[in-house]
Each structure stands twice: as C-alpha cells, then as structure tokens.
C-alpha cells in the first residue's frame, strides 16, 4: 500500500498542485482582512464567532471551486496519458481509487489545518477576547473538513470519468453558487445538495439589531438530522463511487 501511496505523489511531481490551496488560503486571508476592516469590532468578545461564521461562508464559496481544481489536477494525469489500463494491471482498481482520494484528502487536510492556524493568528492580530472552545473547533472541523471531503469525493468522481475537465470545473463553480444561495434561502430542498451542508451544519447564529445597527453572534446547536444524513451519505457515496470506478474504469472498457 505504501508503494501505491508513494506513486500518487510521484505522479504529481512538477504539477505544483500545492499552489492551488496556497492561493485559496491567501485569498481567504485577504477576504477576512477586508471583512474585518468593514465591521466595527466593538464586540471583540464576539470576534471568534464572527470569524468562524465568516470562514464558514467563505469556505462555502471557495472550497468547492478549489476541490474541483484539485481533483482535476490529480485525475487528469491519468486520463491525458491513458495510464489507467497500465495501472490496473499492477494495482487493484479499488486501491487506486482510494489512493487518489487519499491524496486529495491530504491536500484538503493541510488546507483545513492551515485555515485553523490562520484563524488563531487572525484572532490574535485583532485581539479577540477569550479562546476558541473545543466545541467550536469540532464544529468547524465537521462543517469545513467533513463537508469539504464530501465535495472532494464528488469532484474526484466527476474528474475521473470526464475526458474534458471543463465539466467538473463547471460543476464545482455551480456548487459554490448553490452553497451560497443555501445561506440565504432556508428550505428542505437543500438536504440532497452536498454544497448546502456548509450552511446546514452551521453552528453560529446572528442577530441584527436595526436600531443600534449591531450584529451579535451566538452559538446554536448543529442540526443533528443534517449531520446524521451527511455522516451516512458520505460513506455511502464513497462505496458507490468506488464500486462504479471498479466496474467502469475509464480506458479499460
């Protein structure tokens, strides 16, 4: 398994894939800095909640596009060079699928970890009161980590089966918009939409006081039903995707 894992990294040499999450991270930082500049930070005790809320929204918009680019860069090397028919004589198809997903998930994990570091640094820079609680941390990982993994899985599937990578990229962009709409239109319609789970697994509420024109943030319980649906759908999606890849490996038909 280690050999197969190693070859995934050998395949992406010279492709500069790490630049994709790095660029998105920089963009997220700039976005948050701009957003922090446009709000009054009188309520510094709400600072962490504001930051987590903002990050959830920014991730809804950026991560689907990033996941689409990441998946496309990882998978198109196989399709361009027609390598699957060679690989499948040396490596189990299911294992190949797992290794691809694991490579993408590694980039994603580093991205989420870097976001956490950036968040703490950002909070310190703006002198937010208190610390991030363990509950908030777990909620952030569920919202940004788990949902992003689901989005990446979908993009991987699309990229592995699309000779032209425009389609998965278009789906990624459309996903960004769908996810964003879900923040502003509450409806049960969003339950089957993977990108909407950034909002459905939200854990911070806000109150807008019209008179004082101040927004206050507070913790809300995560939608357990949505969480359970997602926790079931993710492994089911993985098993179905893996099975589909084994049965219909592109280039081996």
């Amino acid at each position: 398994m280690l050999g197969e894992w190693k070859t995934e990294w050998m395949k992406v040499r010279h492709r500069k894939i790490a630049l994709i999450p790095a660029a998105f991270l920089l963009f997220t930082f700039l976005w948050l800095s701009w957003a922090a500049g446009s709000v009054h930070m009188e309520s510094a005790e709400d600072g962490w909640l504001w930051l987590l809320m903002c990050l959830g929204l920014v991730n809804t918009i950026l991560v689907p596009t990033m996941a689409a680019m990441l998946a496309s860069r990882l998978c198109d090397v196989e399709l361009k060079g027609n390598t699957l028919k060679l690989l499948c004589t040396m490596e189990r198809k299911g294992r190949l699928f797992d290794m691809k997903l694991l490579t993408g998930a590694s980039y994603l994990s580093v991205y989420v970890a870097a976001e956490l570091v950036m968040m703490v640094a950002f909070g310190r820079m703006h002198h937010f009161a208190g610390e991030i609680t363990l509950r908030l941390l777990v909620c952030f990982l569920l919202q940004s980590g788990l949902v992003s993994l689901g989005v990446l899985l979908l993009q991987m599937m699309l990229s592995l089966f699309s000779a032209n990578q425009i389609l998965p990229l278009a789906v990624g962009l459309a996903g960004s918009f769908l996810g964003l709409f879900s923040w502003f239109m509450q409806s049960p319609f969003w339950r089957p939409v993977v990108w909407a789970y950034y909002n459905l697994l939200g854990y911070i509420g806000q109150d807008w006081d019209v008179e004082s024109r101040i927004v206050s943030y507070y913790e809300v319980p995560m939608d357990r039903q949505a969480l359970i649906i997602f926790l079931i759908a993710l492994p089911v999606g993985y098993v179905l995707g893996r099975r589909l890849f084994i049965r219909r490996t592109p280039g081996c038909g």
Partner: protein, 304 residues
C-alpha cells in the same frame, strides 16, 4: 505441451452482442505468439480480458497454469508486462520518472530501469519530458514499462503502430530476441501477416470474434502458399497451354494466377508459354493476403 496462457470458452458480450466468442487460446511457453486478425476482429478485447481490464462475460483464463480470478489477478499479473493499444505515460514527467512509477508499483529494483532503457535504446532521451517524445519514442517507453520486472509473459497489442520503418524493424528484432535472451513468452497482436512472418513461432487468427486458426507459423504457411502471377500478351494461348499442362489458373486483375510451382517446373512452364506464343512479359510471386488466407481458412470473405 505446457501453455503459459490458456483460455476456455472466452466470451465477451456488449449489450447482448458477442464481440469475442468461445475463444480457446493456447500460448506455449518461451515463444512469440502472433495474434492476428482484421481491425475490429476482437484482438484487443481478448487481450484486455486476459489482463482483467474488462470483465469476462463467459469462460476462463489461466496464466502460468493458474486460473485468474478477482483475488489473484494482480498477483498473477505481476509476472506479466503489457502494452495495450496506445502507450501509457505521464506527459509532464520524464521517461525515467515514468519508469520509476512502474518500478515502484511492480516492486522491482531501480537498477532494472537502466537495463530496460538500454534494451529499448532510450538512454539518451530518458531525462526528456514524455510530452516532447515522438509517437515512436512513446511506444518504446511503453515497451520499456512492460519489460520492467523481467516478466515471464509480455502482452503487446500492435506494438509497431506509429513507428518509422527503422523503428519497426528494431522492435521486431527485440521481440524476436526476447524468448531466447530472457526466456519470455511474447503474445503480440497485429493485423499484418508480413509482420508475423518475421516474428512469430505460433499464430492465432481471430475473425468476427472467433478463433479460426491456431497453430505453428509453418502450418499457416500451408494455407498461405505464394501464388505465381503471369502477365502475357496472348491470354487465350496461355490459357490453352496451361490447360494442356494440367495447371489450374485464375484470372486476377488482368493477370493469370497459378499455384506456386517448384523452380524447375516454373522454368519449363515459362519456356512452353514462350514457345506457344503466349508472350510472357512479367512473372512474379504473389503472397496471399490475410484476406485470402481467411478465405481459404473459412471459405468466406473476411473484411479487413
């Protein structure tokens, strides 16, 4: 006889239509086995089934005497190398980096990379990005990938496609040498009879998904004996003389086609035709085309 590849009733159906029907392939060890057939006959599909790249609808495959199934497929294929249809490569990597990937997956020593590079004469291009290679170079890289790990069975699907004449000759010579030098068995497909003549010890012919011939190359030559073609000034006189001599002939593209005769018989016949006023001005040997061999094997015309 011991067979390194043996299939029984190998069948592939696409949407109910059989594209490979009941193929019983028997490939002896340490030889070059030429798998021939026209385009679309089912050669690549059969080879892909051997490698487990596509599901088998019916039948079974045994490699090295062991029945291939889902569990042991990869373990068995570790002792094989393959080049199916077009070569597989990572264009953004160098030739050597491509080979390192295959070497890691096959778990073989890094030293073998130098050996296979030397074998396919690619030492000087090894550090060039593969996207800058010509098709011929990519084909050589594919062959080098297949040769890594010193496999006991090499499965090559039309390996000379896209090569220039010098490259074709080089690859043929290499294939020819592999059983002797390295004890490998090479199962190579082609639609060119001439190509098989230069490489194969055994041949199998597939047409419309059915294996219609499988034997030693010499046995195929029994079916594909060259014909003699004559071009004469006076066909009526020539036909009269041939009839008198009891030699069967057919009129083809304005020429008289006769079965191949021994050299002395040919000399005598030409002398008689000239004396009889037939006016012979061209005599040539005409090798039977694959289509004609199909015709003699199946009694019906196969499209190439």
């Amino acid at each position: 006889m011991e067979y390194i590849v043996e299939t029984r009733g190998l069948t592939k159906r696409y949407s109910g239509k059989e594209v490979v029907k009941d193929v019983d392939l028997k490939v002896p060890r340490s030889c070059v086995y030429g798998f021939m057939g026209p385009n679309g006959a089912g050669k690549s599909t059969t080879l892909k089934m051997l490698l487990g790249l596509i599901h088998i609808s019916d039948g079974q495959v045994a490699i090295g005497g062991e029945k291939v199934n889902r569990k042991n497929r990869i373990a068995i294929l570790k002792s094989t190398g393959s080049l199916i249809e077009s070569p597989s490569y990572y264009g953004h990597l160098t030739g050597r980096e491509n080979l390192e990937i295959v070497q890691t997956l096959k778990k073989v020593s890094g030293k073998e990379i130098d050996q296979v590079l030397k074998l396919v004469r690619m030492e000087e291009q090894q550090n060039k990005k593969v996207r800058e290679y010509s098709l011929g170079m990519k084909q050589r890289l594919g062959l080098a990938e297949a040769l890594l790990g010193n496999p006991s069975l090499l499965i090559l699907d039309e390996p000379t496609n896209g090569l220039d004449p010098a490259g074709i000759q080089e690859i043929r010579e290499l294939i020819r040498e592999l059983p002797r030098r390295m004890g490998m068995t090479v199962l190579v497909s082609s639609h060119l009879l001439g190509e098989m003549d230069q490489m194969a010890d055994y041949v199998g012919i597939i047409n419309h998904g059915q294996l219609i011939f499988q034997d030693k190359l010499e046995a195929l030559h029994e079916h594909s004996r060259d014909n003699l073609r004559l071009r004469v000034m006076n066909q009526t006189a020539a036909l009269h003389i041939l009839k008198r001599e009891g030699i069967s002939c057919a009129l083809k593209e304005g020429d008289l086609e006769l079965p191949r005769l021994a050299d002395d018989e040919t000399a005598q016949l030409i002398g008689r035709l000239c004396e009889g006023g037939a006016g012979v001005y061209r005599v040539e040997e005409k090798q039977k085309s694959l289509e004609e061999i199909f015709l003699s094997l199946t009694g019906r015309r196969g499209s190439l």
